[in-house]
């Protein structure tokens, strides 16, 4: 018995050493996931927060505005950008990265504070980036409280210096009010509007890896690919046929997920539910092409799942499928620009949460198809060279 255990263990070790891909994945996969999650969620655990860009329009030009601006300039991790046009500030909050909020200090704010009123700063917020909005709002709220307190302390000192109470009014509270960065939309969002497409993309990727990469390996092992090639069918045609079938399955998978999300969780399907097909087509194509790349670089059948799942999870995480992109450090956001998941999530957010027109999904579609084409050409080239 002991001998059997010992000999089996020895043989397993030999098998492991003989398959460098599996060995590599045992170490590589957790390191990749730890890196992505650690950098993305570090700020939630008190680590260094990512910097935000904060457009601000000063229509007040008074002491309160001056106090707010100076205080924001001292805020760690906030890059203040002074603008003149409230519409431009609003537009930036709806579109640009690391800009979840824009502030407008309305005209007459200082006067209203001095008169004991309760003026409100206007915060244009992007509902898609609710978590970042909340983080910034906490800091702005604290800042407003400090300014109000300072103003009151100054007024109180002034009163005390007169010896008896003069007929002056204590400054009022400064607060803020949220407005959607895109006019007419809500400032809050159904969490499922983020999670249904986000996890849908994740499992679409994993499904493609298993469905295409594994079965391509199987077909190579079985010899069916070779046999079909004898019939005159070009290998490229056989591969594209396989990809096309899975591409259709991927689209169907996403449609079912959206239907379930709508029925069970009340997700928004945007202005035109049919427009959701646009990013779905893009990500299905890119994921199918990526699976071909994985099939062409994996050295053994058993290494396909670990390699494929690691790549899928990393792409989904970096591309903003699980948490907001703005959580991520600069280098990771830069990397995300080259991932189809990023562009697809942007399109889903625009259509479902920002309620934009279908045309908003066309640029992300072009980017996703472009990246997918690179995957496709690389996968075909590699696969055909293996065949030679």
């Amino acid at each position: 018995m002991l001998r059997a255990i010992w000999l089996t263990a020895q043989n397993e070790a030999r098998l492991l050493v003989k398959d460098p891909t599996v060995l590599f994945m045992l170490l590589f996969a957790p390191v990749v996931i730890i890196t992505v999650a650690g950098y993305s969620l570090g700020s939630l655990y008190g680590g260094a927060a990512n910097s935000f860009r904060l457009p601000l329009v000063d229509l007040d030009h008074g002491k309160v505005a001056q106090g707010v601006i100076e205080a924001l300039r001292r805020e760690h991790g906030v890059a203040l950008e002074m603008l003149d046009d409230p519409d431009e500030a609003r537009r930036l909050a709806s579109r640009r990265d690391r800009t979840p909020v824009a502030i407008v200090i309305p005209e007459g704010t200082s006067v209203a504070v001095a008169a004991g009123g309760q003026p409100r700063l206007i915060l244009f917020v992007d509902p898609v980036r609710r978590v970042e909005v909340n983080a910034l709002e906490l800091r702005i709220d604290e800042l407003c409280r400090r300014i109000t307190e300072q103003a009151r302390t100054a007024a109180q000192s002034q009163i005390e210096s007169f010896g008896e109470a003069p007929a002056i009014t204590l400054p009022g509270d400064i607060g803020f009010v949220e407005k959607p960065a895109i006019e007419g939309e809500a400032v809050t969002v159904n969490a499922f509007d983020q999670y249904v497409p986000g996890f849908g993309i994740t499992f679409l990727l994993i499904g493609m890896m298993l469905g295409i990469a594994l079965t391509l390996f199987d077909e190579r092992d079985w010899g069916t690919l070779k046999r079909l090639q004898v019939s005159g069918a070009p290998l490229t045609g056989l591969l594209l046929g396989k990809l096309f079938a899975r591409f259709i399955v991927g689209i169907a998978q996403m449609i079912v997920l959206f239907a379930v999300g709508w029925a069970l969780f009340g997700i928004s399907l945007g202005r035109n539910p049919l427009a959701l097909i646009i990013p779905t087509v893009g990500i299905s194509f890119a994921a199918a092409a990526l699976a071909l790349v994985v099939a062409s670089i994996a050295t053994a059948h058993d290494s396909v799942p670990s390699l494929g799942v690691t790549i899928s999870i990393s792409m989904a995480a970096i591309g903003g499928c699980w948490w907001p992109l703005d959580f991520e450090p600069g280098w990771m956001r830069e990397l995300a620009r080259w991932l189809p998941t990023t562009w697809t999530m942007q399109a889903f957010n625009d259509l479902m949460i920002r309620n934009q027109a279908p045309s908003a999904a066309l640029r992300p579609l072009a980017a996703t198809i472009g990246i997918g084409m690179i995957f496709l050409l690389a996968g075909l080239f590699r696969f055909l060279s293996l065949d030679d």
Binding site: W222, T224, K226, R227, V230, S231, G232
Partner: protein, 318 residues
């Protein structure tokens, strides 16, 4: 088969190396309509490489392959469909039924929907799997899988059939069925190249033998010719009791002593033909050799192979 008939498939001076190892060295061969040519050699001799090149799956380093007298690239699809490959591995989809497997290959071979239906039914009938047509392939026995593998190769009625060790791991009954189907297919006019290391199979169903060893074609021709190339003649293997006379078997006319083990009382004598048997036995009695048993041995491919290469067909080539 008429020797004048043009080859359906022809390899002309093909060579192939894998790194420093020369797998095929200047091999030429051909197969004609109605003929089964056995590609016979030990494991690692170059049979699968030859078949892969003939199937145009592998490019030779030098030499070329002609299908119906033309290079494949002149009509890749049309000429490709003249070939039917039955690989050594089971090139089938395990979760699909037998009918679905055959159907897929039929359609990929360019058969129309209606034609595919007719051809699939016929192919499954021919290999005796009609009653199991709807069962998934993975539920089949090893022999049935091999038969299905053959059905997928012949479903489009290719004029040339390339078979790579089709009976490996098959039980006796299935082997008989397979060999019968292959012979029947050739009799219907197809040219068949049958790669095997089973000498008995080659002797049973093949019209011509191509002996291959270490990447070289060492002999080619019909069965008798190849056997005779080995120089072997019929033998009589004797078991005797007692002493042998002085001069042993030297006094027997037309007989050559191959080997004698006196301690075991065994001797092997080579004759010119089996017609000499009675004469040899009579001569032995005259010499007072007390023969208690004897066996007759016909020269076969194995003898020829040993004579030509110095090792047996079952030997692995390293």
């Amino acid at each position: 088969m008429s020797p004048a008939e043009a080859p359906l498939l022809e390899a002309i001076e093909i060579s192939k190396s894998y790194g420093a190892r020369l797998a095929l060295d200047n091999v030429s061969l051909a197969v004609r309509p109605g003929e089964i040519a056995a590609l016979l050699g030990p494991n690692g001799a170059g049979k699968t490489t030859t078949l892969s090149i003939l199937a145009t799956l592998l490019k030779p380093d030098s030499g070329h392959v002609l299908i119906n007298g033309k290079p494949r690239k002149s009509d890749p699809t049309g000429l490709g469909r003249m070939l039917g490959l039955v690989p050594q591995s089971l090139a089938l989809y395990p979760t699909l039924s037998a009918a679905q497997n055959v159907w897929h290959f039929a359609r990929m071979q360019g058969l129309s929907h209606d034609d595919a239906r007719v051809h699939c039914k016929r192919a499954l009938d021919e290999v005796g799997l009609s009653e199991r047509a709807d069962d998934p392939m993975h539920a089949f026995s090893g022999g049935m899988k091999r038969l299905l593998n053959l059905a997928c190769g012949i479903v489009h009625r290719p004029p040339v059939l390339l078979l790579d060790e089709p009976t490996v791991g098959v039980d006796l009954q299935s082997r008989e069925q397979l060999l019968a189907r292959i012979r029947h297919y050739a009799d219907a006019g197809a040219g068949v190249i049958y790669s095997t290391h089973y000498m008995e199979e080659a002797e049973r169903i093949c019209d011509r033998v191509l002996l291959i060893d270490r990447g070289k074609l060492i002999a080619e021709g019909d069965l008798e010719k190849v056997i005779s190339l080995g120089g072997s003649r019929p033998r009589i293997e004797l078991t005797y009791r007692g002493q042998l006379p002085d001069g042993r078997f030297g006094n027997l006319a037309g007989v050559r002593e191959i080997g004698t083990t006196v301690s075991e009382g065994k001797a092997i004598l080579e004759m010119n033909s089996f017609a000499q048997v009675a004469e040899v036995l009579h001569g032995l009695r005259t010499l007072d050799v007390n023969v208690v048993d004897f066996n007759l041995h016909s020269p076969n491919l194995s003898d020829a192979f040993i004579a030509l290469t110095g090792h047996t067909l079952r030997d692995q080539v390293n």
